[in-house]
Every structure is written in C-alpha cells, then in structure tokens.
Symmetry: C2
Subunit: 166 residues, 2 copies
DNA sequence: AATTTATTTGGAATGGTTCTAATTCGCACT
DNA sequence: AGTGCGAATTAGAACCATTCCAAATAAATT
C-alpha cells in the first residue's frame, strides 16, 4: 500500500479572496481520543489540544507556531511536549508531517491524498487535491521491484494575489 | 516554466543485479568551467573536482560524503568549501539538491526530469524517469492562480533484493 | 607588480530537533 | 480512597546539518 505523505484540506475556493473553511471533512471515524487509545496511547490534554489546534487552523504550522498557539490554552506546556505530541499524532496517523527542503517541519491533520504548494513569497502552504487516477499513474512509473510505501508531491512557486486563500 | 527539483540518471536496468552505468547522458552543452564563467563565477579546482565527483558516482551523496571523496583528491579542502561549492553548482544549475524529509541534503548532477525513490532499508536513492506527459498532468492539477516554479516527487519504500542497482 | 575582487578556510555560531533524567500524571488494583 | 507502576511531561543539555565570520589565499585586472 502506498501512503501519501501529504496533508489534507477540503478543496478551497478560489473565486474570490475569501478563505473558505472546509465544510465537510473526511472526518476520522473515531475521535482522536479513541484513535490514541486504540494505539495503546493515552489521551492527554496536551495531545487533544494540539490536535484541535491543527484541526482549527489548517495553515500547516511549524512546531514553534503550534507551541505559541497551545500556550494560550496550556500556558505551562513545553516545546519538548509539543514535539512529542506532534510525533505521537503523526505516529497514529491523525496528523501528517510536511517538509519543504530543509525548512522546519510543518503539520496538518491527516485526510485524503493531496500534494502541497508552497508560496515562496508568502511562506504559505496550500493543499492541492490529488485525483486518484493521477496517483495511480504516478505509482505506475516505478519499475518492477520498487515497492513504495509513501509518495510526496510538492510544488514551489507563487500564487496570484487575487487567488489569495489565507 | 516549471523546474523539476529532481536529479538525473540514465534509465538503469533491472534485469539482473549488475549496476548499469549511464552510457549516454544528456551532457550539458558546455563544460562546467564554461557554465561557471558564464554565471560570472570562477572555475576553481575545488568546484571542478566536486562536480566531477558528482558526475562520477551518481549515488546522491550528502555533503559529508562528498567531503570524504574530495579529500582523497584535494586533502586540504574544508567542509565549508564543500558546502560553498555545492551551493554554487546548484546555483548555476549544474547540480540539484535533493531532500528527503529532514535528512541531510543529497546532491546529483542536473539532467532531465525525474522523481526520486528512497530505499528505507538500504538508505539508497534512485532516480525514476518522469514521462513528459505525466509531468503535464501533474502540473494540471494546480488551480488557476497557482504558478509553480518547481515540482518535486519522491517515493519512499524498499526495493526487492533482486532489483538491486547499486 | 600592485590593486581589487572572488574564493577558500577553520572555527564559531545557528536553529530545528532529539535526548536525558527527573517529576508528574493517570489508570488499575487493592 | 490510597498505592503502585508505567506512561507522559518537562527543562535543559546535547546534537547535527548547515551557515556565518573574519582572516588568509588565489585569481583577474590595472
């Protein structure tokens, strides 16, 4: 099975400058708490809050940015815990880690297959929906004997000002 | 124009365990020296040797690995110079930097569009030829207003033992 | 040959991330 | 309700790839 090392967002609208929040998301069939305990892990306030922060504002924050946001809710949390929790959430597939070159890792809640677009002017990252058939075609370029467990597709460039999403 | 942030290798053969070295490569129309001076840079021994090392063994070495290899030829070279030279070569498009998550950057001589496959068992990286039409299809998933200057496609997984290339 | 400018160099600094050892927490079992 | 025990959190040190810096060297230009 080929995992998409990529994160998720409902298809955003580009018709005007207004950011469209996902209305229906491919919600996990269980709560985060359930997924955690199913993986033999505990559902802690830190993990829950960090996950909710990721769900809440899907702008692919870095660990530092997550840290800043969590502190408003859990002022005594440590950066190490933020890293630990993010790693845990990635580990049980609630969240995906996203990398652009050697920039700090970004995080987003795990949903469906998509590519990433990184705007070099704004520093923003957007999710690009990936059609299943295209994914199949991409997998098909691998020679026999190559077993891929994950794929990552990322674009770099800039977005037209009128296409601003967030 | 969309650049492929990816490096190159002639299509390797997988029929047996024998690594096939590229026979014909899409050689640059100019020498490295020429490309450098065309970019207003000097052709130095360090730059030339590093470039030749990259051409010589196309196994996507890290800066450290390049450093180790250069030292046999230029024993007094410094690691800082290796980084400088690699950056210079990347800057004038003779070489591509390749990243897998946050692992150390790898380098390969610049040729045609291709994806990367990273074998998690061996730590080896292989180039996967990217058909032009597929590339077009991938670019086509971008919504209007998204102007990509580069694409990167990378696989992670393992290769069957009998498909060993190098 | 002298001057300017680019390049190299070693070592210090940076910055994101991970490690460590100690504390705290949550759950299971009395 | 209290206790014990493994899991989770925490602060700070450590790590490591990479970059920065300031001095030394080399190459091109005058």
């Amino acid at each position: 099975m080929v995992l998409i090392r990529t994160c998720d967002l409902e298809p955003f609208q580009l018709t005007d400058g207004v950011p469209i929040m996902p209305t229906t998301t491919t919600m996990p069939t269980e709560t985060a708490a359930q997924t955690l305990t199913d993986s033999g892990l505990r559902s802690t306030p830190q993990r829950e809050v960090i996950y909710s922060i990721l769900l809440n504002k899907r702008d692919h924050p870095t660990a530092d940015e997550v840290y800043a946001r969590v502190k408003t809710e859990l002022p005594s949390i440590s950066l190490a815990t933020v890293y630990n929790c993010l790693e845990t959430l990635v580990g049980c597939n609630l969240v995906r880690a996203v990398n652009f070159d050697r920039e700090p890792t970004r995080y987003c809640p795990n949903l469906r297959p998509h590519a990433h677009f990184h705007d070099e002017n704004l520093g923003s990252t957007y999710d690009i929906d990936l059609p299943p058939d295209l994914l199949e075609q991409i997998k098909a370029i691998l020679p026999p004997g190559y077993n891929a467990s994950s794929i990552e597709i990322s674009f770099r460039g800039h977005t037209a000002p009128e296409a601003a999403q967030n």
